[in-house]
């Protein structure tokens, strides 16, 4: 065994977890599917692993168009939950398009939202990565860049966020509950993530001790029947997205009155396609309008040597996703 040892503590309550989590060098473990990979790869070396998996934060509740998912709910439990499958099929389908059966049985919702990038330089050893080792440089920028982001990058980092669920939840304006040393707060999920800038080691806006306790999705009935998640990947199953698009439309009297478009695989965080969303408002759904949305989605893309193919893929994925949900109902 070459990976460094760590202490283990089982959290007895949320407050106890937070108190332990604030300590320097501690890491929460729930599903463990990302943390143990990172630990084995030498990417992370926690001094203490705080086991939060037995805290009572795995309830799933769905009532009055409000879905509440405990952060410790396993992905497979969410996808299989009757009310989720019935009232939020987009969430169930998206989860089932992620990872493998084994991993979905282990991985938790909170951990999925906090999973770290799959950039091979980040996960590798003896290669530069500013996210893993600040100041060492970005290997991907001038190296193997097929995975890399098109938007939101910095000189220091071009890594993408790998979560499918986050893309869909942000399209649905999901919020998260956080408890930490400063108390409890609720924020939009989109506020969890941050762009790399000069400090790519920090993925999120969380501070030490912060614990995501749950996810809330409200008031999505207006999108019913007009939501989809299109995931383009190198193989049909157990693979991360090369490009993905979550799309939702609210159509009244044949006119688009509200739209959501969020892309995955192309940015350091789920990437809201605001220009495309805005353009769609007031339009009568048509292929021409959806093509225009795809064209707007790729504006400002900054490809590297190997990821330029994602531009056309993104444009076409936006079109296809909108075409899937924008037809006559």
């Amino acid at each position: 065994m070459t990976s460094p040892p760590f202490r283990y503590a089982r959290a007895t309550s949320v407050d106890n977890a937070i108190a332990k989590g604030i300590c320097n060098g501690s890491a929460f473990i729930a599903g463990g599917t990302d943390l143990l990979q990172l630990w084995k790869a030498g990417v992370t070396a926690p001094a203490e692993v705080v086991d939060i998996s037995r805290l009572p934060l795995s309830e799933i509740d769905c009532s009055n168009d409000t879905l509440t998912i405990g952060a410790l709910a396993r992905l497979s439990s969410v996808a299989a939950h009757r009310d989720v499958a019935m009232h939020h099929p987009l969430i169930a389908d998206t989860i089932l398009a992620s990872a493998s059966g084994q991993i979905r049985n282990m991985a938790t919702v909170g951990g999925n939202l906090l999973q770290r990038t799959r950039c091979v330089y980040f996960r590798g050893q003896d290669v530069p990565c500013n996210k893993r080792q600040p100041g060492s440089g970005c290997g991907a920028r001038d190296g193997v860049s097929r995975q890399a982001a098109l938007f939101g990058t910095s000189a220091a980092c071009v890594a993408t966020n790998a979560s499918d669920l986050a893309v869909v939840l942000i399209a649905l304006d999901a919020e998260i509950n956080i408890q930490g040393g400063a108390g409890a707060r609720r924020v939009c999920l989109s506020e969890l993530y941050r762009l790399p800038g000069d400090t790519p080691a920090q993925d999120t806006t969380l501070v030490a001790g912060d614990l995501i306790t749950g996810v809330i999705v409200r008031n999505v009935a207006r999108f019913a029947g007009r939501m989809t998640y299109l995931k383009v990947r190198d193989r049909a199953s157990f693979e991360f997205a090369v490009v993905s698009v979550a799309a939702a439309l609210h159509i009244e009297n044949g006119v688009i009155v509200e739209s959501r478009l969020v892309a995955g695989g192309i940015a350091p965080l789920p990437w809201r396609l605001t220009q495309s969303e805005t353009m769609l408002l007031g339009k009568v759904p048509s292929d021409a309008v959806f093509v225009a949305a795809g064209d707007l989605a790729i504006q400002g893309a900054q490809p590297l040597s190997e990821n330029g193919f994602k531009i056309e893929l993104l444009r076409n994925s936006v079109f296809r996703a909108l075409q899937t949900i924008g037809g006559a109902s």
Binding site: P5, G32, L36, S53, R74, I103, S237
Partner: protein
Amino acid sequence: MAKHHVQTTINGDPIEFLCDTEETLLDVLRNQLNMTGTKEGCSTGDCGACSVTVDNRLVCSCLMLGVEANGKKIGTIEGLASGDKLHPLQQKFLEHAALQCGVCTPGFLVASKALLEKNSNPTETEVRYWLAGNLCRCTGYDKIVRAVMDAAHEIRSA
């Protein structure tokens, strides 16, 4: 560092062990309990060779700490056969020659058993997607899928 005392049930038997914090459940099964049927493949959760069940959920034992298993019910490949009598899945894997080198086979069997306990009559597509978390470099999967379908049929007919 002090070892952790862990109490579990493995294949129906109460089993206690002492483990270091950084030992995975896979390490404990193979190195301490001499249950070497569970294999180590990638050790990163990609190949499924280490598949076991924990409280009836199929998981990768390489991504779970041994200490996390405290109070849990573990199911391993050693629990499939009853004495000398093979589980129908094992028998069908033999009949269909659904293995060559055999390293992935325990994981496939444990995963397939977990599938059939949830869904006794899976379609071929359902079998293939369910087994997406298990990699085989020898068979090309067709024989495995046929063996699982055949075993499912036999179990339903029994």
